[in-house]
Structure formats: C-alpha cells, structure tokens
Amino acid sequence: MAASRSDDRLPPLVWAALLTAAALMVAPLVWTLLLSLKSNAELVGNSGAALGGPYTLENYGAIFGNSSTMRWLLNSAIVSLGTTAGVLVLASLAGYGFARLDFPFRRSLFVLVLLGLAIPSQAVILPQHQLFATLGLHNSYPGLILPGLIGPFGVFFMTQYMRAIPKELDEAAMLDGASRFTIFWRVILPLTIPAQSTLAVFTFLGSWNDYWWPLISATRSDMYTLTVGLAASQMNYAQTSGLGFLMAQAVFASIPIFIVYIIFQKQIVRAMAGAALK
C-alpha cells in the first residue's frame, strides 16, 4: 500500500490515541486467550484469575477429546468449502454469460440478479425454511450449502471482471475453433484467477461465520456448524463445560479464519479498493 504523504510523521498525540485504540482492540482478544489458558476450576467465580498464572493447555487438549467440537469443525469445513466451490462455479458461469453472450432477456435477468443485492436474508427466511422442509433438506449438508450459493454479489463481481477482459481474446479463440465452453474454460477462466481468489476468500469468510441460516436449518447438534455450536455452548455454559473450555473453543474456532485472513490479506484489500471505486 503506497502512502500518500508518507513523509510526514504522526504527531505524538495522534500516536498515543492510536495506540490506546489498538490496546482497546486487542484487549478482548488477549483476555479471551488468557481465559482459555486457565483451568476451569480456577475461573469459577473469579475470572480475574486469568490475569495471572499458572497457565495450561488442558482446555485445548479437551477440545481434541471433545467429539462434538471436532464434528462442528468438520461440518463448518464441509459447508464453507462446499459453498465456496459452488459460488465460484455458478458465479463464473453466470458472469461469463452476462458479460459475453447475448441471449433473450439478458438485461432484464441481470437487473433481476442485481435486485437480489437489496433482499436481506431475513426477509425470506420463513419461506426458505418451509421450502427446505418440503425438500427434506434441513439438517443436511446440501441444506446448509444451497442458500449460500445464491448471493448475487458473486455474479455481479465476476460479470464486471470478465467485461474488463478484452473481447479480442474471445474472438481469437473463436477463430482458433474453440467452442463457447472451451473459450470460457481455457481462455477466460484462467484470466479470472485473481477475481476467483478474492471471491473465494469472501465467500469462505462469510460462510464460515454465517450464523443465521445454520441456526435455523441445523437443529440437530451433530449437524451444527462451529458458529451454531458455540452459540449453543455459550447459552448453557453454566451447566456444562467451564469458562476456560468455552474460551478455548472460541480461540480454536477462529484459528482457521485467521489463517485464511493472513494468507489472503492482499485479496481482501484489493477487493475493498474495487468496492470503493464502484
């Protein structure tokens, strides 16, 4: 990131404010980490104990022995990866169609898809719930994945990206005897890899963190995703596991997402630049 005016230094007062803000930002995370490193017994009635030793990894050990957390992790992974793969496929196909091909009602259909950006998922939750009940898809992976595939953003994003690729390339491929699908698959798709990775990161983050749909669709604890599982744990933590264990679960559940974030920081920033431009 190139800075404008990188030469002038921040005034000390601004620095102080910035560091205070950063401390406020980090404190909850550190607090959580500390709690997760304390034995449950020590924290009962005195969470302040987390500010001092001794620290232990026993809560993390317990997670690996806890079949339901591992099961939720697996569910989250399957749902998020499935959703991401599905979105990439559907959005790329549709994006190519909208960006390059002429077919009846193309404009109206594209506008219809754009309208979807203004439909909040809460507004349609009830009929969706009924629909999936009718199809017998609740408490199943397809049931958890399908609603994540219809976000119009991916289609919009891929359409815009593909429109920016010179049409001459498609034409050259046509003269090279490539079919429509070959052009899509062998010529255009490889050129969209940066867009694919951006879309993948956002879809993965969104799906991993989604709470609303799995809360409603996954009612059996073996089909919970990590978000729903953690919600259930925190609602009745008093009766079950201790505070330290709960916090270890939280840390554990955020590890994959932090890994994705750190690896794909560039894509996130780039996507933001695109959004600010539009």
Partner: protein, 363 residues
C-alpha cells in the same frame, strides 16, 4: 472459382448502415489491402469474412464453399488482431498450439507445426515465454505465428502494424512482404496507412461512405483514381483539386481554371460529361515553382514546407484556389512571394460533377 468472393454484403448496426452492398473478388494468394478513413467499415467487412460479425445480407464464398454460415473456426481463415490478442496465460508454444488442439490435430503433428512456424518467424527462443515477457514486436510475430500454424487459406489482418513504433513498423512491413511469399494463402490486411497498402498489396480496396470506392493495383489507385475521394485520400500530400471549365478542344480536353489560365490535358474528350463544369486534379509533382510570369500561371505563396530533398509550396491563385506545388529542397520561395507555377497539363486528372475520375489514356 477458387479464392474469395463477397456478394452483396450488407450490414447495419442498430439501424445505421455500415456496408451498403459490397462485392469483391480476391484471387488465391492475392494480397489485398483495405484502405479507407476510420469508420468506413473496413474492420466490419473483415470481421464478416472471419465470422465474428454476421452480415444482414449477402454471401461469403471461399474456394467454392459458402462460409458465411460456418462458425469462425471452420472457415479456413486465420486472423491477426490489432492488439494481437495473445492468450496472456499461455506460453508462445501453447498460444500457437491452441487452434490445432481444438481441431484435434495429433500431438506430435502439433509440435512439428509449431516448431516449423517458429523457425520461419525466428521466434524459436521465445517458445516458452508468456506474452507479458515479450516486446511489442515479438508479440506481433507470435500473433502471426499463431495464424500461420493453422495453414489457413486466407489471412485476415486488422491494422497489424498500428501498435508498433515507426522503426519497427518498417521492419515488420518488410517481413510481412517476405512472409507472404512463403505462405500459400491469400491475405487481406486492413490499414489506414497508405504507404503500407502501397508497399504490400497486390490490389488496394478503397473504402468510404459504406461502399467500395475502387479496387485496383497500388499504382493504378495512385495514377488513375476512380473518383475525387480516392484521388484526395491516396497520395501525400493530397492531390490539388480545383474547379475548372471545359474549353473547346480536340481529341483531348482543355480546361480553363478559375483565373482564366488554360490547360491542355491528355484526357480524351470522349466520355467526358457534357456540361462544362468539372474539377481538375494535379499532384504536387506535376506543378513546379518557377519565376514569376515564366510558368503557366502566377500564384502567391502561403506556406513553404521543407522536406530536405524537395520542398512543398502551398500557394493561392488570384481567384483564391489553393494549389500545392513542388520545388527543389533549396527553394528560395517565401511566404507572401509571388511565383510562377509551371503546370504539367499532361499529368492532370479531370473529375466530373459526380466525382468520377477521367485520366489520360493508359500507356
């Protein structure tokens, strides 16, 4: 009939007509240049031949086969695009092999074809590079290579040299000339650079105003332009065309310029339009500067353009008609001078009221 035939091609974009019934015959192995101002429909016609646009009407026939109903890849034509359109994610080798793969040519054969073409174009050492790792000139060659490997019956080039700098453009022009000796196929090249068209083409097709204005070999386009548009468009600096009146004469027409000067041309009187009003066209090399009163007529110098080995003198006759003349590189003419102009009437062209050109009898 072998070669390419275009029959009554019409095309309109959203109600705006771009091509109004175009006919053209291209012989096998002929090099044709499409020349014309921008927006005159050159690219559109080329793209109709390629199959990238569909014509509203008309037929495209290549080697006795009607191809306008075929998809682009099945037409036996290859195209070199203005911006090359190399596939950025493929190496040169893959770029060249792509069309052959789609045509299901066996692997081993593809390798041979690609290697041969690369050798011809001297791009063997580039085969494993990607387009981004090459200079403009190298990309240009690869684009040509990608067309050659397919052994098409017709090459279509849309302003292939317009993205190169001047020096490279000249060199590539020479290479294109050599190349066409080696390939057994016709070539159609769109250009708006007349020097390019003149150097390379067997015949030039001049476009303007939705129509073909003239189809002829380069020198004929230059010396016997079919109409005043072609006459003005081809040749640099442009031909001087000024109004004149036919005077009575013999077998060859004589005209009076606006200032009364009489010129005897070599244009046969037969076939000239009846009425007296015509236009006369003179190339600068047919009008020489001389001393005042010593030439065909006098004129006042408006501008002197020194080109080194010669000078161009832009002058005005008494009646205000602008005329371009040539003089030695060492000319002493200055702006505001009155000079004489010696006009070579034998080299003059006449244009009828509808713009049709009339020229001296062919040698």
């Amino acid at each position: 009939m072998p070669g390419l035939q275009l029959r009554n091609i019409r095309k309109a974009f959203k109600g705006t007509e771009v091509l109004a019934g175009v006919d053209l015959d291209v012989a096998p192995r002929e090099f044709i240049a499409f020349l014309g101002p921008s927006g005159s429909g050159k690219s559109t016609l080329l793209r109709i031949v390629a199959g990238l646009e569909t014509s509203d009407e008309g037929e495209v026939i290549l080697d006795d086969r009607r191809i306008d109903t075929l998809p682009p890849g099945d037409r036996g034509v290859a195209m070199v695009f203005q911006h090359y359109a190399l596939y950025p994610h493929m190496t040169v080798r893959e770029n060249m092999a792509f069309g052959l793969k789609n045509a299901r040519v066996p692997r081993a054969e593809i390798d041979g074809l690609v290697t041969d073409a690369a050798r011809t174009l001297e791009i063997e050492e580039l085969l494993d590079r990607k387009p981004a790792q090459m200079s403009g000139g190298q990309r240009q060659r690869v684009a040509i290579g990608r067309a050659i490997v397919k052994k098409p019956r017709l090459f279509l080039l849309d302003e292939p040299l317009s993205n190169l700098d001047a020096a490279l453009r000249l060199r590539t022009r020479v290479e294109l000339a050599q190349l066409r000796q080696r390939v057994d196929a016709g070539v159609i090249m769109v250009t708006h650079d007349q020097a390019e068209a003149m150097t390379l083409a067997d015949r030039i097709v001049v476009f303007n105003d939705r129509r073909i204005q003239q189809v002829a070999p380069p020198m004929e386009i230059y010396s016997r332009p079919a109409n005043s548009f072609v006459a003005r468009f081809v040749g640099s600096p442009a031909m001087t065309i000024i109004p004149a009146r036919l005077a009575d004469g013999g077998a060859f027409a004589s005209v009076l310029l606006g200032n009364g000067t009489r010129l005897d041309t070599q244009v046969p009187t037969d076939g000239l339009p009846g009425s007296g009003a015509v236009e006369i066209g003179m190339r600068p090399e047919g009008v020489r500067v001389c001393g005042q009163g010593q030439g065909t007529t006098d004129a006042e110098v408006q501008l002197v353009e020194r080109l080194g080995e010669r000078s161009l003198v832009y002058a005005r006759l008494d009646d205000g008609a602008a005329i371009t003349a040539e003089d030695a590189g060492t000319t002493s003419a200055k702006v505001g001078d009155r000079v004489g102009l010696s006009i070579d009437g034998a080299a003059a062209h006449l244009f009828g009221p509808d713009g049709t050109g009339y020229h001296r009898a062919a040698a």
